[in-house]
Symmetry: C2
Subunit: 160 residues, 2 copies
């Protein structure tokens, strides 16, 4: 188990194996992969209530924060390609949560706008982060530390 002190305390004397082990449980990548799927799974029943998938929920988070954004900007925020977003946005539009319209000043660009229903959904979504935070069961320090480490990792791994 991990100490609450934001990781300040010794954790375990587990014999950390040689660099470059091929053992599954030594791989940070697998811990990451498993954690990501486990968290998504925990979201699923909550998001089902809202009629959203997890990636769709992330898109809505961005839109609730800044409406009338382009697909490109959305992709920059979520680190997703247009080939992922375009069909996803189509589904959200079909579900009545947003509108898509070409920008007058640049016909290449498409502005994504929340519909009334999409904007209203924000209220119903308000309980989701709290519920997930509970399930995660991390102290605020652990939560912040994990975020920091994951961002560092992402930045390093994304570098050139």
């Amino acid at each position: 188990m991990i100490s609450a002190e934001a990781g300040s305390r010794r954790v375990d004397p587990a014999p950390e194996p040689a660099e470059g082990s091929l053992l599954l449980d030594d791989q940070l990548c697998f811990a990451l992969y498993a954690a990501s799927r486990a968290v998504t799974a925990r979201y699923r029943p909550l998001l089902d209530e809202l009629g959203l998938t997890y990636p769709q929920y992330l898109v809505m988070l961005v839109l609730w924060e800044q409406d009338a954004i382009s697909v490109r900007e959305l992709g920059a925020a979520l680190q997703l390609e247009s080939s992922t977003l375009s069909p996803l946005l189509k589904r959200l539009e079909a579900n009545g949560l947003l509108h898509r319209e070409r920008r007058a000043d640049d016909e290449r660009s498409v502005a994504i706008r929340l519909s009334e229903e999409g904007a209203r959904l924000r209220d119903r979504a308000a309980t989701v982060p709290v519920s997930i935070g509970d399930a995660m069961g991390l102290t605020p320090e652990q939560d912040a530390l994990t975020k920091q480490l994951l961002r560092l990792l992402t930045a390093n791994v994304s570098a050139d």
Copy 2:
């Protein structure tokens, strides 16, 4: 930046926001999702050399560790459903990396066995963890801490 000594140096006084924020960048879930995809993307060119996808690589890691395992055991190790593994294993078999055969003592079960080629692939894969470890750029302490935190998170979130 994050300190190496498991948090010995101050990181940042970023105003950690209210519990239950809907801002994308406050969500641990998003940091996790983004990190997982970024790491997988980093693996991709290395695994392309081996003719493997990332989930296929994870399966091979398990098999290199313990051969002649059942689909069920593989699923337990990777936390994946048979509906994910069955087609994936079919593809690995088609690529000549493994064989599948019904167990004599329990005809419901299927034993997954490495082929010669699958076993040999291990040598070529040996450099992958080192290369990825480099790219991740975490200190051993940061690496271990991240793994610990992710396992804690996974365990909490998976609990009933």
